[in-house]
């Protein structure tokens, strides 16, 4: 019993309680199913807040550690190990925060096989929490692969017209990357005699040339998940076909598993390779920033536009991480959260309008500000947050990342040139181009389509869904200190482990 009541076990596996209850229901019992899922998700969120209240932000190491022997055969020492530190805490909270919001957004949108839908959703939450908390490589891999299954079904069953294509592309693509990571994990675990992450880090001693290949194997899985250019093409399809709640979780949390993976595994396990490959990663990141922005601009489907913008935004995160200094990595982690909030909110908003008009084509909109002012203003705020307007959350992350990238760009720094920062900044301009393009097409100008004249503005349930996200958009934008305080010590600790040629300590 004590084992079950361990904080991290509780937070990870509480969604299973909801799953068990849902199994007792039938698909026809829609209302009960929704409430069961929502309450479960809310309780999980509550538990995560309870964990937060006990979290010691000044401690850079792993907290609430659970470490049990799990599979011990033939020299394989696999542990069941969960732990939380400043790198993962915000992502755990993001997961538990977005899940109930996403569930609430399905109230009207999902009307078929409701029980199954909610069941998969809670399973997905459990998988994601496991990914962020697992401290054993093998356990991590189990959770990592596990998340694929519910997401596959969410897209494949409740998705749009071309859902099968999107679901398979999603599954195969991420699977392909994962296999390479699995090989690297097995190699590491067998050679080092343990799969337990802290032990692996402490042991070190992997030759630089081997690190190089292992880094790439892990990176294959993470880069596809992020997704980094040029491995991104599954993302727009998955997003466009996924139901709203699926998109929210996909953009909000699932993609962060990739960026998180880089910070959690690639940097401390293969520090020499990380330094060696930092410019390459930064280059791909910057290409992604510009490429994603350019493609966004040419879209006529608003959901696709937002999907491609994710490629651009997550490029920033990767750039921050591979600046290999505190500003960059801390900024990158905060930007993961920011992107989850802003893009999550954008997908929700797109879902709201889709439920009313059953189209996402720009040409079908225009002049909506007059008809749905509340919706328009909220979309404007979220859009501005997404394009990094100071005072809102996106700016804080981007700013920290730019500082990190400049810092890493000094002579002898891991990136060696400020050009990465400069080109990334160009992405900020392009973000304004496509975001304003979207806003203008949808909300400004005269009303051109008759059906748009009688759209109803947001109702209470929808406001309840979106307002919590707005709160964080402002909070992080205006006073980010509490968030950085959570991230900071663990990131400092991580940076100290890196053999960065010249430390980018400020003068």
């Amino acid at each position: 019993m004590d084992f079950i009541l361990e904080p991290l076990n509780l937070v990870t596996f509480f969604p299973l309680v909801g799953v068990l209850l849902l199994l007792l229901l039938k698909n026809e019992q829609k209302k009960i199913a929704r409430w069961v899922a929502l309450v479960t998700a809310l309780v999980t969120f509550g538990i995560s807040l309870w964990v937060l209240s006990m979290f010691d932000a000044s401690n850079p190491g792993l907290q609430f550690m659970i470490e049990e022997d799990w599979i011990q055969v033939a020299g394989w020492k696999i542990k069941y190990a969960l732990g939380m530190d400043g790198i993962s805490i915000l992502l755990v909270l993001l997961t538990t925060f977005l899940t109930p919001i996403a569930i609430l957004s399905t109230w009207k949108a999902i009307d078929e096989k409701v029980r199954d839908f909610q069941l998969f959703f809670l399973l997905l939450e459990m998988g994601m929490l496991g990914v962020f908390l697992a401290q054993d490589l093998f356990l991590f891999y189990v959770f990592w692969e596990f998340t694929l299954v519910p997401m596959y079904f969410l897209i494949g069953i409740w998705g749009g017209e071309k859902r099968m294509y999107a679901a398979i592309k999603f599954f195969l693509y991420t699977m392909a990357g994962s296999i390479l990571m699995l090989l690297a994990i097995l190699w590491l675990g067998i050679r080092q005699g343990t799969f337990f992450l802290p032990e692996l880090i402490a042991k070190g001693g992997i030759p630089a040339d081997v690190q190089f290949w292992l880094f790439l194997a892990f990176a294959a899985a993470f880069a596809i998940k992020v997704p980094m250019w040029p491995l991104h093409s599954w993302l727009p399809d998955a997003h466009v076909q996924a139901p709203t709640a699926g998109s929210v979780i996909l953009a909000g949390v699932l993609l962060k598993m990739g960026t998180y993976g880089f910070v959690r595994f690639n940097l401390p396990l293969f520090p020499e390779a990380a330094v060696q490959l930092a410019p390459t990663m930064a280059l791909l990141a910057v290409i992604g920033i510009l490429y994603g922005a350019a493609v966004s601009y040419s879209q006529t489907d608003v959901k696709k536009l937002v999907a491609y913008s994710s490629v651009s935004h997550l490029g920033f995160v990767i750039l921050g991480i591979f600046a290999l200094n505190e500003q960059g990595i801390a900024g990158g982690i905060l930007q993961m959260v920011n992107h989850g909030i802003s893009t999550g909110a954008l997908f929700l908003l797109i879902g709201f309008i889709y439920e009313r008009r059953h189209t996402r084509d720009f040409d079908q909109f225009g002049g909506l500000w007059k008809v749905v002012p509340v919706y328009a203003v909220i979309t404007l705020i979220v859009s501005l947050s997404s394009m990094g307007l100071p005072g809102l959350n996106g700016f804080v992350g981007e700013f920290a990342i730019l500082l990190g990238a400049w810092g890493a760009g000094t002579a002898g720094g891991p990136l060696g040139t400020p050009l990465f920062a400069a080109f990334a900044a160009a992405g900020v301009i392009l973000a304004a181009v496509y975001i304003l393009f979207m806003f203008q097409k949808m909300f400004l100008g005269p009303i051109t389509v008759e059906e748009n004249k009688n759209i109803k503005d947001l109702n209470w349930r929808e406001l309840l869904v979106i307002v919590p996200l707005l709160v964080f958009i402002f909070w992080i934008g205006l006073y980010p200190k509490p968030f950085f305080d959570l991230i900071g010590p663990s990131v400092s600790h991580l940076v100290e482990m890196l053999p960065t040629a010249v430390s980018t300590v400020l003068h």
């Binding site: 195969l172 050679r191 500000w369 990238a405 181009v433 203008q440 200190k481 950085f484 300590v505």
Partner: protein
């Protein structure tokens, strides 16, 4: 001191609270909304005046400016602090911002036709079209009246935040909030395509500058470890930044950071070549033009670069640094270039828009040649007289709209100066105040504030031997006086050229009172900065402005006091009076736009000027269209869909055939016969289950993948042993 610091923190807040209050609660009630907004601006005004008074009466204020800071976030090993600071420069800017903002708020009440009936056909997103009343058509109230006051409240918050900031980061926050408000306000009548496009253009163009500024900020932080003005502008830090090499050979860190920051100003203050957005921004309601595009936002760009002057001059030891040269060149080009365009415009507001660009160029050029005090002086006087002129032009347009409604001929453009004429009799208050503003802009000698500030720039340029700048600005000043008089003549003098102008009507007191207040400053503010050595009247009034501002600079930056010289004085007298006189002579008998005297004189050159040197067309062809085509055809359709996805589909096909081979040659014979049918049966059952909801072969791939992994693992295991 404690109280003053607290008040400085509070100054930006009332307009912000007004914004939220109007948006959330009072947006249905026009009277309450404008009362809250004006009240908010009034509170900020009182706070600003209190702080300004404290600044004037505190001894050693320049050495010990007001302000304090709090920790905003911890990045790396150093806390990142943000706070407020009022030193002489920000005190004087706060002074004029608070006054102009309050005046513009009050003016907006009348401009948006408060007290008039609702329009019969007015729609949100379009300017009011008038309402029928007692058989006449009268002006109707703006349909989004409350929203306007909410937006300008938010805007005022941004501006005050920028001014009281003690660091580049919160300055940038205020800067961007203003950018957003400018977007919302230019596009206020969002139903109009022209307004919609102008708003986007303004935001995009300034954003280009902003991003460079952001890079400059990041760079400065990386090198200096702080963004606080106080910490950067120490002798030690400036000298460090001046001697550290940047990425660009021959340029110091200070130089590169300074230039990057200056590009932010180029965007925000509409300097060449990012000037294109400002004239289009006239699509917004006139109080917006006055506030954003004259008094505050465009001034903010110049304010920032003046603020960074210690950085720009670092390493120059009295000579011009690279960064300063850049400023001098861009500023001079802009001053002349925009003045030439202004000569060929017929829209009353567009003339002022180009005039603004040109005058901002004066300030930038002044700073570039090290005339720090003159730049600040012109910034302040310009804010007063240009706000006055914009509000005056709004009053003219308003009077003309009255005439248009009277005749019912909506084809007459109430902004075209050739449709006006003789308005001085119809709108005397507007005329006299506009005349004062226009003369101040032209630099009419001795009386007007514009003369003193412009003369000081010319005198500085001459005394320090920057003859190129001197003559460029002198020609620009001549053109300024010329187009201003052209504007006054066409608008107010002579006879009415249309029926509408005959029926124009003076505007209400809410509009004319701000004009009068601003007119007082447009004259009086020059007298605080009369140079000691000015012949005849120098020394009668103390040159308070120079002492106050110059002491605000760090003590390690030295100024040479310039000696009086007749050449620049005579030049500025000649260009101002000559320009005004020529303008009047040429235009006093003008009839129609087709017969514009300058048009006849210049011919094709006039067409070039009228079309603003075709910059819009150029940018459209070179930047906007190619970007759209590039992103759609090349990046999306070719790269993303054809190359990347095409490659993927090929891989998928290949895997599929490979999978079929595996299945036939390995799976079926080996697995089935080797391990028995159990696994296969189960796989098959699972597969059947899944197949119901999908049409692909996912389980097959999974099996292949897992098998592959185990084979590879086995190989590894073998090698390890």
């Amino acid at each position: 001191m404690e109280l003053t610091n607290l008040i400085i923190w509070l100054i930006p807040l009332p307009p912000l609270l007004a914004f939220f209050f109007i948006v959330l609660f009072t947006n249905k009630n026009n009277k309450l909304s404008h009362s809250i907004a004006v009240g908010g601006a009034g509170l900020s005004f009182l706070g600003a005046m209190y702080v300004f008074y404290q600044a004037l009466t505190t001894n050693h204020f320049a050495e010990h400016p007001f302000g304090n800071a709090i920790t905003w976030l911890n990045l790396g090993d150093k806390p990142f602090e943000i706070g407020v600071m009022i030193d002489p420069l920000s005190a004087i800017v706060l002074f004029f911002v608070a006054i102009t903002v309050l005046m513009i708020f009050i003016y907006s009440i009348g401009y948006h036709n408060y007290g008039q009936p609702k329009g019969d056909h007015d729609k949100k997103g379009f300017p009011p079209h008038g309402a029928a009343q007692d058989g006449h058509t009268v002006l109707s109230i703006e349909p989004m009246y409350a929203r306007f006051f909410a937006f300008i409240g938010l805007f005022a918050f941004g501006m005050f935040t920028l001014v009281v900031s003690d660091n580049l980061l919160t300055l940038f926050v205020g800067w961007e909030i203003m950018g957003l408000c400018s977007y919302l306000l230019i596009g206020f009548w969002f139903g109009k395509d022209s307004a919609k496009n102008a708003a986007k253009k303004a935001f995009m163009t300034t954003r280009v500058g902003d991003v460079f500024m952001l890079l400059g900020i990041s760079y400065l932080f990386t090198e200096a470890g702080t963004l606080s003005f106080k910490a950067i502008f120490t002798e030690e830090m400036i000298s460090h930044l001046a001697h550290a090499d940047s990425y660009i050979p021959g340029l110091s860190v200070a130089g590169l950071a300074g230039i990057l920051l200056f590009i932010g100003t180029v965007g925000k203050s509409a300097q060449f070549p990012l000037h294109v957005w400002l004239p289009d921004a006239m699509e917004g309601p006139t109080p917006v033009s006055a506030m954003i595009h004259a008094a505050t936002m465009v001034s903010a760009g110049v304010y920032m670069v003046i603020r960074m002057f210690p950085l720009l001059q670092a390493g120059g030891h009295g000579e011009l640094t690279t960064a300063m040269t850049v400023l001098a060149v861009i500023g001079s080009i802009t001053a002349l270039f925009a003045a030439t365009i202004a000569v060929a415009q017929n829209d009353v507001k567009r003339v002022l828009a180009y005039s603004t660009i040109s005058q901002l160029g004066f300030m930038v050029a002044a700073l570039g040649i090290g005339a720090y005090v003159a730049a600040v002086f012109h910034l302040v006087t310009h804010a007063f007289f240009k706000a006055l002129l914009f509000l005056g032009s709004g009053s003219v347009i308003h009077g003309m709209e009255h005439g248009v409604l009277h005749t019912g001929n909506h084809k007459v453009d109430p902004q075209d100066m050739y449709n006006m004429g003789g308005l001085s009799k119809k709108m005397p208050k507007t005329f006299w105040t506009f005349l004062i503003g226009g003369f101040a802009l032209s630099g009419f000698p001795l009386i007007t504030a514009g003369f003193w500030s412009k003369d000081e720039i010319l005198a500085d340029a001459f005394a320090n031997g920057h003859m190129g700048v001197f003559w460029t600005l002198a020609i620009a000043a001549f053109l300024t006086a010329f187009y201003t008089m052209r504007q006054i003549t066409l608008t107010f003098l002579g006879k009415a050229r249309t029926k509408e102008a005959e029926h124009a009507h003076e505007t209400p007191a809410t509009m004319t009172t701000p004009l009068i207040v601003l007119a007082i400053f447009a004259i009086g503010f020059g007298w605080v900065g009369v140079p000691e050595h000015f012949p005849g009247i120098g020394g009668i009034l103390p040159n308070w402005f120079h002492d106050f501002i110059a002491h605000g600079l760090p003590s390690f930056i030295h100024f040479e006091t310039i000696h009086f010289s007749w050449t620049p004085l005579i030049t500025s007298l000649v260009v101002a009076l000559g320009g005004l006189l020529t303008g009047w002579l040429v235009y006093r008998n003008a009839t129609t736009a087709e017969n514009d005297p300058i048009k006849k004189l210049l011919g094709p050159v006039h067409t070039l000027l009228k079309n603003k040197y075709y910059f819009d067309e150029l940018y459209d062809k070179v930047l906007v269209k190619p970007l759209a085509v590039f992103s759609e055809k090349v990046v999306y359709e070719f790269m993303d869909r054809k190359v990347i996805d095409g490659f993927l589909h090929k891989v998928a096909e290949l895997t599929f055939s490979l999978g079929t081979i595996f299945r036939e040659k390995f799976d079926l014979p080996v697995i089935n016969e080797f391990f028995g049918d159990g696994t296969a049966a189960m796989t098959q059952w699972f597969g059947e289950k899944i197949r119901k909801i999908q049409s692909g072969n996912i389980q097959q791939y999974m099996i292949i993948a897992v098998l592959g992994a185990f084979v590879a693992l086995f190989a590894f295991w073998m090698t390890l042993n």
